[in-house]
Amino acid sequence: MQVLYFAWVRQKVGVGQEEVSPPPEVTDVAGLMHWLAERSPGHAAAFASARQVRAAVNQEFCPPDHPVRPGDEIAFFPPVTGG
């Protein structure tokens, strides 16, 4: 699956996007966040305050219990500040 990062989540992770293949036990957004946090110190820093991180699955805002599947486009970012 394709994972994208924006704003300070991107800065902490160190890349804007990456292709990942989590194990089958990763079934939802929260599980993916936990799994990604193990990948590097930057990932760990980005997901350290998980409540500050929002997610979108296939370009729709989603709660932590939303399922994730191979082929999905999943994005992580801080609360939005447009307008």
Binding site: L4, F6, A75
Partner: protein
């Protein structure tokens, strides 16, 4: 049919307004909102980031909702990204309708929603090189929530 765009370039409000009313005689009023970059705390620039694809979809979705909830003859949302300096415009919302109430309410709905429902992020840059990500405000969530329908 709404017009939504995400762009780095500045926008021309008069041209956008003319495009909404061109060739029509059924529009009684066009409400507008222009958001500007405020130079608080000696700010040098705002840098706006978005999620290409999702941002445009989100803007189109909310513009369609505005058109469903109010009898609009058209609406335009233009949101800039990239580096924006104090005093420069960031966002434009125009709503056209036969009568002012619908235009004014739909315009307020769109700008309230833009603050909380579209994937944009603002980073502040200061003259000494410091930078800071703008944090989401509870007051913006409250402003957007007042438009939620039971």
């Amino acid at each position: 049919m709404a017009t939504v765009r995400v762009q780095e370039a500045a926008f021309d409000m008069a041209a956008e307004q003319a495009a909404l009313s061109a060739g029509r005689t059924d529009i009684g009023g066009i409400a507008s909102f222009v958001g500007l970059c405020r130079g608080d705390d000696g700010l040098a620039a705002l840098v706006l980031e978005h999620y290409p694809g999702m941002t445009e979809r989100a803007l189109a979705g909310i513009a369609a909702e505005a058109e469903a909830r109010w009898p609009l003859t058209g609406c335009t949302v233009v949101h800039r990204v990239g580096r924006i300096r104090p005093g420069e415009p960031i966002v434009l919302v125009l709503t056209a309708s036969a009568h002012r109430a619908a235009a004014l309410e739909a315009c307020a709905f769109l700008i309230d929603w833009l603050k909380t429902g579209a994937p944009f992020w603002k980073r502040e840059e200061f003259p000494d090189g410091r930078e800071r990500w703008v944090e989401a405000k509870d007051s913006d969530d409250a402003a957007a929530a007042r438009w939620q329908q039971a």
